[in-house]
């Protein structure tokens, strides 16, 4: 997929360019108003760029230089909207088959029965959309888009309107999509947790521009990108493998570099790769190794950088063999007399972790220490 477009909307300029392989899940991340939805609307053909080029799977969808502008119905792009947008006057079954019947039979590679089975919506087929719960609504919306056998799926915060339990119910479905159907997905979200669970690649947008794009693990460890992840989301991503699924203390032990990280028990096999995100708010620092503490994880390291936002807290970039961000209060900062290069101990509290489901062999378990 190759996207390079500009569009002016009043004072707001969307000027975005990125390219990536046509596989897996690419997350489009950024704060509200970053232009994410505008961008995918242009990919879908629902909004017209002023200039540029969009191509997917080698098919040129839009090119201002050759005056190419395929209408949405010719683009073969499935779109799952934030609010579902099921047609209210027809049944769930008719919603699912609406696009399928418009796809020429020789182009269909998605089977109706298989999608109904995958999404678990068999018992809903004869209902009207108004009778569906939020989660069911989104599952039908995903099925409807999938059944057009699209070259790519766009998902615009499909989980945003759902509560936490519905979200965790739907995440595994989305993960399975890209694996079972090999349809590339462009997934818009401003929730880092969702992206950690789903994405292979990341495109970070801010104020209409693409700030960075690339492999998720690479991008998230780059310190210069931390500011784009939002002040609340300041944190570190660490790739680990399971060292011991259940150690003597009843916790799961993860290994990274020469360190062991203890997290609440999870049912993953020894050696399984796990992506861990540690929010800066959950990392404390001490000048000496504390002898009696509730912190399960204590790592020695150095202060590499001090970032003062001019607010009540200060962010520290610590080097513990890898990068670890810590957020401490301004009061503690001046009490400890911290300077760059100073040796410290990083304390990580082991609390609850949220993670998705395992699919196939090459799947990740993503986990976040809250």
């Amino acid at each position: 997929m190759e996207i390079n477009i500009t569009r002016r909307q009043g004072d707001f300029l969307v000027d975005a360019a990125f390219a990536g392989p046509e596989s897996g899940i690419t997350a489009l991340f950024g704060p509200s108003g970053a232009g994410k939805t505008s961008l995918i609307n242009m990919v879908a053909g629902l909004m017209r760029p002023d200039a540029g080029r969009i191509s997917v799977n080698g098919l040129c969808l839009f090119d201002s230089s050759s005056r190419t502008d395929l209408p949405p119905e010719k683009r073969r792009i499935g779109y799952v909207f934030q609010d579902g947008r099921l047609l209210p006057h027809i049944s769930v079954r008719a919603n699912l088959t609406y696009g399928m019947h418009l796809t020429p039979a020789d182009r269909r590679f998605v089977n109706f029965a298989a999608v109904v089975e995958l999404l678990g919506i068999g018992h809903l087929l004869n209902r009207r959309p108004a009778q569906l719960s939020g989660g069911e609504n989104q599952r039908v919306a995903i099925g409807r888009a999938l059944l057009t056998s699209p070259a790519m799926l766009l998902m615009d915060e499909p989980l945003a309107s759902l509560d936490a339990s519905r979200k965790s119910e739907l995440l595994p479905f989305i993960m399975r999509l890209s694996h079972e159907y090999a349809i590339p997905i462009l997934y818009v979200s401003h929730i880092m947790d969702e992206i950690l669970n789903l994405a292979d690649r990341l495109v970070i947008m801010d104020r209409g521009h693409v700030v960075a794009f690339g492999d998720l693990d690479d991008l998230l460890s780059k310190p210069e990108l931390q500011t784009h992840l939002g002040k609340e989301d300041y944190g570190s991503v660490i790739s680990t493998v399971v060292d011991d699924p259940l150690d003597a203390s009843g916790l799961t032990r993860l290994r990274f570099d020469d360190h062991l990280l203890k997290v609440p028990p999870m049912s993953a096999g020894r050696g399984a790769p796990i992506r861990v995100r540690i929010s800066a708010r959950n990392v404390a620092v001490a000048l000496q190794a504390p002898s009696k503490t509730s912190f399960q994880n204590i790592f020695p390291g150095n202060v590499e950088q001090i970032i003062d936002h001019g607010e009540s807290y200060v962010d520290l970039r610590l080097d513990i063999g890898c990068i670890l961000w810590a957020r401490i209060t301004r009061q503690s900062f001046s009490d400890l007399h911290l300077k760059t290069g100073q040796p410290v101990f990083a304390l990580i509290k082991s609390v609850a972790a949220s993670f998705g489901a395992v699919i196939g062999d090459n799947a990740y378990w993503h986990s976040r220490i809250l």
């Binding site: 879908a44 629902l46 779109y79 609010d83 047609l87 006057h89 959309p129 108004a130």
Partner: protein, 232 residues
């Protein structure tokens, strides 16, 4: 004479009224939906002019509208003459003219109701249908139109009732000819102009009320049935 037994004049007037109103609504419905769609969805220079033109019969005295129709579409009128010369169509002083008068007078009510309904259709649903592979025409007929049905029902009933009651434009444009253009209101008016006509006028009055009530009940049933379909 038995109370329930309708006289020939009454039957004629009733049949003509239903016939004229039915045709008026049938003719103006497709045009009304098109105009409503244009007004609801398009932006173009002269839109206010079109909007004003559509609403003109609502604000003009009906007699003025009827007179304008006569001037334009009478056999020697600007358009009427051409219609007669090339198509052999005569509108003045026959039931077709009554249909036209009723259609013109009820048109704004139809357009207003359909337009309101069109404007409340979520365009996001239309966009969704486009991404599912439907072209604009298919989207109109499978998404927009079905979701506009409540407004269309309302518009139809309003237009039908307005057509049944049409008097001023009709009598001016096509006159009051029994069996040709004498609809219920015109027959009622005629009866009020003759001695001993009171009972006949009252009978026609009751008949008009019954038809209007029946139309309202029909629209209510249709609207409920549609709402139930969407709710499931």
């Amino acid at each position: 004479m038995h109370f329930w037994h309708l006289t020939d004049v009454e039957i004629e007037a009733l049949r003509l009224s239903l016939w004229v109103s039915g045709w008026a609504v049938a003719v103006s419905l497709p045009i009304g939906i098109l105009v409503a769609w244009v007004l609801a969805r398009l932006r173009f220079p002269g839109k206010n002019l079109l909007d004003g033109l559509v609403h003109l019969p609502l604000v003009l005295p009906p007699v003025v509208t009827g007179y304008l129709l006569l001037v334009l579409l009478g056999r020697n009128g600007l358009i009427g003459a051409a219609l007669y010369k090339y198509l052999g169509v005569v509108l003045a002083f026959n039931w077709k003219g009554a249909v036209l008068a009723a259609a013109v007078m009820s048109f704004p009510l139809l357009v207003r109701a359909v337009r309101l309904s069109l404007e409340s259709v979520d365009q996001g649903l239309e966009a969704a249908a486009r991404t599912l592979g439907a072209g604009p025409v298919r989207v109109f007929f499978t998404v927009t139109l079905p979701l506009t049905i409540p407004g269309i029902i309302t518009g139809l009933i309003l237009a039908f009732a307005r057509s049944l009651g049409e008097f001023g434009a009709t009598i001016t444009f096509v006159s009051n000819i029994r069996g040709q253009t004498q609809t219920l209101p015109l027959a009622l008016y005629t009866l009020t102009q003759v001695p001993d006509g009171e009972i006949g006028a009252m009978r026609l009055c009751i008949l008009s009320v019954l038809i209007a009530m029946a139309a309202l009940v029909c629209s209510e049933i249709l609207a409920r049935r549609f709402a139930a379909r969407v709710r499931g």
